[in-house]
Amino acid sequence: MNPLRVAAVVRRIVAQFRRDPRSLALLFVAPLAIIALLGWVLSSSQSTNARIAIVNESTGPAGSVVASRLESALDGQPGIVLDKSVSDISTARQMLKDKTLDLVVVLPADFSVQNRKIVLTTLGLNPMAEAASIPAIQKALIGAVADSAGAVLPTVERSSIYGSPDATQLDTLAPVVVGFFAYFFVFILTGISFLRERIGGTLERLMATPVSRAEIVLGYSIGFGIFATLQVALVLAFVLGRLDIPALGPVPAFAIGLGVRTIGNPLIAYLLVLVLGLGAVSLGIFLSTFARTELQIIQFIPIVIVPQGLLGGFFWPIEQLPTLLQPVARILPITYAIDGLRQVMIAGADLSTPQLQLDLGVLAGIAAVFVILAAATIRREVA
C-alpha cells in the first residue's frame, strides 16, 4: 500500500468531479430540492378538510335520531366540512364523482334499532387518502350512538416512549431520506465513473502501472467519500436546521430547512451514513463489471435501489413484511442504516446502545464484503 499512489487516485477523482457540473448538481442540488419538496408536501397536506354529507334513507324514528345526533357531532369539528344540502343518495353519489364531496355517511332504508348498519361511501380512486378521514367519522359515530344510549365514553390520549406522540410524518421520514440519498447518489456516480474506466481503456492503463487493486478501491472510496461527506453534511444541515426568513415586500415569509427534531447526536447519524456510503462505492465498482454501457448502470436502479426502498423499512416495518421477504430485508444495508438513523434521531441512541452497535457493525461488514468483491472484479477484468 503506497499512500502516494492512493493520493494520486483521490486527487484525480476530485479533479474529474470538479469539471463535471452535472454530477455536482446531482450530488448537492437534487437532494435538497427533493427534500424541500417532501417537506412542503408533508407539512401542508394535513390542513385539507374532508367534505362530508349525511344521507338518511330510512323512514323509522331511530334513523332520524341517529342522523341528527351525527350531524351535530360532526358539524364544526376541525377538518370536517358538513354539507347539509344533500339529502338523497343519487345526488350524493354524483357529488362524490364530481369530487365536491369526499365521504357520504348513509343510513340505509332498513336502518332501525335492531339493524344498526351504517355505510360510509367514498370514491375509491385513492383508498389511502380517503381512509384518512374515516377515524374522525368513526369517533363521531361512536359518540353519536353512545350519546343516544346515555353512556359515558372514556377519553383516549396517545403517548409514546420515544419522540413525541404527535411527531409529524416528516420527523420519521427525514432519517430515511438522508440515508437513502447518500446511498443512491454514491452508487450511481461510482458505478458510472468506474464503468468509464473499464470501457475508456484507462483501467487497462492503470493495471499496467504499479498501482494495486487495493490502492484503487481505497482511492475511490476516499475520493467519493469526500463528496459523500459533503453531501450528507449539507443534507443533514438542511433537514435538521431551519432558518425562518421574514416577509419582505411582496415576498411572503418562508423557511429554509425543515427543522426536524433530533434527539441524538448528529455526528453519529453522520457516521452511519458514511459507512453506508463506503459500501455504496464498492457496490458501484462491483456492479460496473456487469455493465457495458452507462444505460446498463441505470438498469441496476430497479434491481438494486428500488427493492431497498421498498423493503428497507422505508414504508413498512420489517416485522410487517411477508415472512419470505423478511430475510431479504435483513441483508440489505439500507435496512440497518434506516434503523440506526431512527435510533439516533428519534430514540436518541448513542454509541453505547447495543442496537446501534449492531446496525453499525452490520453496515461495516457489508461494506467490507463489497470492498473485497470490488477488488476481486478489478482483477477478473484484467487477468
Binding site: R5, R12, R19, G200, G201, T209, P210, V382
Partner: protein
C-alpha cells in the same frame, strides 16, 4: 502478486547481455481460439523490435502477456529477467495501449501527472520536458476531450514514457498521427534505444518496418519469421516487405497444414 528482486537480471550473464524481453513457449487461449500459440523469443536490450502482422494476429495479446496484464495459459513471459505478471516490475515498463487510455475530463497536465505519480515520478521539470517532446507544452490546461485525435495519441505516449522505463511496449503508437509527427516519433524511439531502452512496437503498417532494428512477423499467434529487415528481404527473395510477409505466410501453411480452423481477422 510476488515481487521478485528487480535487479536479478544484471547478475545473470555478464558477457552476452541478458535478454530484456523473453518468451518461452508462450500461449494464451480464449476458449477454442489460440490467440498466442506457442511463441518463443529473446530480445537483447537497446534495440527497437517491430511486431508486424494483420489485425487479429495476436499482437495485442502478446504485448498484454509480456506487460503482465494477462496471465498465460502456459509458457513464460519474462521482462528484465523477472517473470510476468509482476507488479513491482511494472515500474520499469512503459505500455502505450491501442486505445488512448486517458481521462477526457482531465487536462493534459492532470493526465500526465496522474499517470506519472502512479509510477512514483513527480519531477515537474522532467514532466514538462516530456510534454515538450510531444509538442503539447502549450496546451497543458486543455481538457483531453478537446484535443484532436493525434494530440490525444501524443498525450497517451507522454503518459507511457514519463517514468523513463527501460522496456517499452507500444501498441500501434502511430495510428492517427500525421506523417511529420510520425517521423519525430521514430526519431525519439531511436534516441530511447540508443540510451539503452528496449522497444517493442506493434504495427500493421509495413512501411514502418524499415525503421526497426529487428522484425517479428506474426500471424495466427505464431512467429512466421524474425530477423533484420534486410535479412527477411533476402530470405524471401523480394525487396518488398509486404510480399515477404505473404511468402512466409504461404510457406508456413504448406510446411504445417492448418489442422483446425482459426478464427479469421477479428
Amino acid at each position: 502478486m510476488t515481487a521478485s528482486p528487480p535487479m536479478a537480471s544484471s547478475l545473470a550473464a555478464p558477457t552476452a547481455p541478458a535478454p530484456a524481453v523473453e518468451a518461452v513457449g508462450l500461449r494464451k487461449d480464449f476458449g477454442p481460439l489460440h490467440a498466442v500459440d506457442g511463441i518463443d523469443m529473446s530480445l537483447p536490450p537497446g534495440r527497437i523490435y517491430g511486431l508486424l502482422g494483420p489485425n487479429g494476429s495476436g499482437k495485442t495479446t502478446l504485448i498484454r502477456l509480456l506487460a503482465g496484464l494477462a496471465s498465460a495459459t502456459s509458457g513464460k513471459a519474462r521482462v528484465l529477467g523477472v517473470d510476468m505478471p509482476s507488479r513491482a516490475n511494472l515500474a520499469r515498463i512503459g505500455y502505450m495501449t491501442q486505445s488512448d487510455g486517458i481521462y477526457p475530463e482531465l487536462s493534459v497536465w492532470e493526465n500526465l501527472t496522474f499517470f506519472a505519480a502512479l509510477y512514483g515520478q513527480t519531477d515537474k521539470a522532467d514532466l514538462r520536458r516530456s510534454l515538450e517532446f510531444v509538442e503539447l507544452d502549450t496546451r497543458t490546461d486543455t481538457p483531453a476531450q478537446n484535443l484532436s485525435g493525434g494530440m490525444r495519441r501524443r498525450l497517451s505516449m507522454a503518459c507511457a514514457l514519463a517514468h523513463h522505463p527501460s522496456v517499452i511496449f507500444l501498441d500501434e503508437p502511430t495510428v492517427g498521427v500525421d506523417p511529420a509527427l510520425r517521423v519525430q516519433f521514430w526519431d525519439h524511439f531511436h534516441r530511447l534505444a540508443a540510451d539503452g531502452a528496449t522497444l517493442l512496437v506493434s504495427s500493421h503498417v509495413m512501411d514502418e518496418a524499415d525503421r526497426c532494428d529487428k522484425l517479428l512477423f506474426i500471424r495466427d499467434g505464431h512467429v512466421l519469421a524474425q530477423g533484420t529487415p534486410a535479412e527477411l528481404r533476402k530470405r524471401a527473395g523480394t525487396d518488398n516487405l509486404e510480399t515477404a510477409f505473404l511468402r512466409f505466410a504461404t510457406e508456413s501453411e504448406t510446411a504445417s497444414p492448418v489442422t483446425e480452423t482459426q478464427e479469421p481477422a477479428r
